[in-house]
Symmetry: C2
Subunit: 242 residues, 2 copies
DNA sequence: TGCGCATTCTGGTCTAGACCAGAATAAGTG
DNA sequence: CACTTATTCTGGTCTAGACCAGAATGCGCA
């Protein structure tokens, strides 16, 4: 970067690049889901280096203004999906209420022992197996959520034969007569790795919003344990309280 | 990094370094709030470069396993504070319930017009001023929360003469007879800049957990608007629902 | 002993390249 | 035209340094 001879407070180059791109986005000179100039073009434009350019981009990513698609480029984030985890509105309805096109892909379904966290949450017997569902959910073609769902097999016989790409809540209610009475959500910022990162088109170690949830029918009977990994720029949680 | 001659799947160097440090932390070979080896020591140890080492460190930071203290080093994160924004438990009590030592510093207090978001949320008249409080809150000496609080001046006369480092909820209740009936929380992952980043000992653009909150007395009367910037590794939200 | 100053150490920022793997596209082929 | 293949373009990872500013520390002096 050129020196400013002290006219203005000298900003680090990565901040100047960030501010420039943030400006383009705020003025809608770059529209939602539009690709940003490539890193090498930005290097050229700012007479800088890829390290510095990528620094700026990763700041914008942290803010949620842009997102990456692995080896394809950087894109302007559309508005966040507003999501109230305590409401019983399912993903499809939620997306459509906000004029978005939802999609779900069932990645895998297994009968397994499952992770200790799930077994503890569901308070299953030592020999009981869990059903694990892994699903990838998208908005307007962009993957935004990778989720692991654990269910006690005993409560949901024949589950694996059913359609598992739609609303689980509906299915549980209709076919198993489950009425969720309350749930416990834990929310934190975490990071994605390996198959989760790949599926979300992120790099290993990219930050995400993680939601762990236990759903109960009746006072103490846990029937579902979820771990959700959200592309953080895709979501804003809304928690009303009374 | 040495090559593995295909014996195991070859991991990128930054992931190997991450895994090594994550291992030390999980085995408690590095204890909470302990400083990690300096970046240059890690470069030495892994025969790598600072770029790669910092890549690994920033992944660990995203996960919340470590946090940084500006130009002092990287430290192992203590357990996250469990925080239920809908409960009326104040920061002091919350911290002490979890065996942590809380502290609050009042950064500034002003009568100002305030940002548009605050004015809209509080639905104040065009000529009315807001009181802005800026506070930094710490746990065990580590800054974890930088918050902006906006209050309509008309509802809280003489507020600026009071002690503003303690629980605002208590003060509002005691001195102004405010009874909060409900609130609206919005939670997203964002980034910190400038004075917020400085105060939290972070770099510009580091990710944070952002909570925006409107508090109401009575059905529609908003009396408080907050923006909280949490060091993300310091907090886990807990949202029970009924 | 206590204070101020110089030194050392830390992360923060940056340069100027390199090679790789996967995605997208253009070109060639049947 | 449809399909395959080669090329180009993208970000992902990495090397080997550099200089800077702020934090911590050690030392000398009062």
């Amino acid at each position: 970067m050129h020196t400013d001879a002290g006219l203005k407070k000298m900003l680090p180059a990565n901040i100047e690049i960030r501010d420039y791109l943030a400006g383009l986005i705020k003025q809608s000179r770059l529209k939602q889901n539009e690709r940003l100039p490539s890193e090498r073009e930005l290097v050229e434009q700012f007479k800088s280096t890829r390290i510095t350019v990528r620094d700026a981009l990763s700041k914008l990513e942290s803010e949620g203004l842009i997102y990456r698609s692995n080896r394809r480029g950087w894109f302007v984030s559309p508005p966040r999906l507003e999501y109230d985890p305590s409401s019983r509105v399912n993903f499809y309805l939620l997306a459509e209420q906000q004029q978005r096109t939802p999609a779900t892909e069932l990645i895998s379904q297994k009968r397994i022992k499952g992770p200790q966290a799930a077994r503890t949450a569901l308070a299953v017997a030592a020999d009981e197996k869990l059903i694990e569902l892994v699903r990838l959910r998208s908005l307007d073609g962009r993957p935004v959520l990778y989720e692991f769902i654990y269910l006690p097999e005993s409560r949901f016989p024949e589950l694996m034969k059913k359609d598992l790409e739609g609303s689980l809540t509906t299915l549980m209610q209709r076919d198993y007569n489950v009425e969720i009475t309350h749930e416990d959500n834990r929310i934190c910022v975490s990071a994605v790795y390996d198959q989760v990162a790949d599926a979300l088109s992120h790099i290993n170690g990219a930050p995400c919003l993680e939601i762990r949830r236990i759903r109960y029918e009746g006072e103490r009977k846990a029937v579902e344990f979820d771990i959700e990994h959200w592309v953080h720029s895709a979501i804003e949680l809304r928690i009303p309280s009374h």
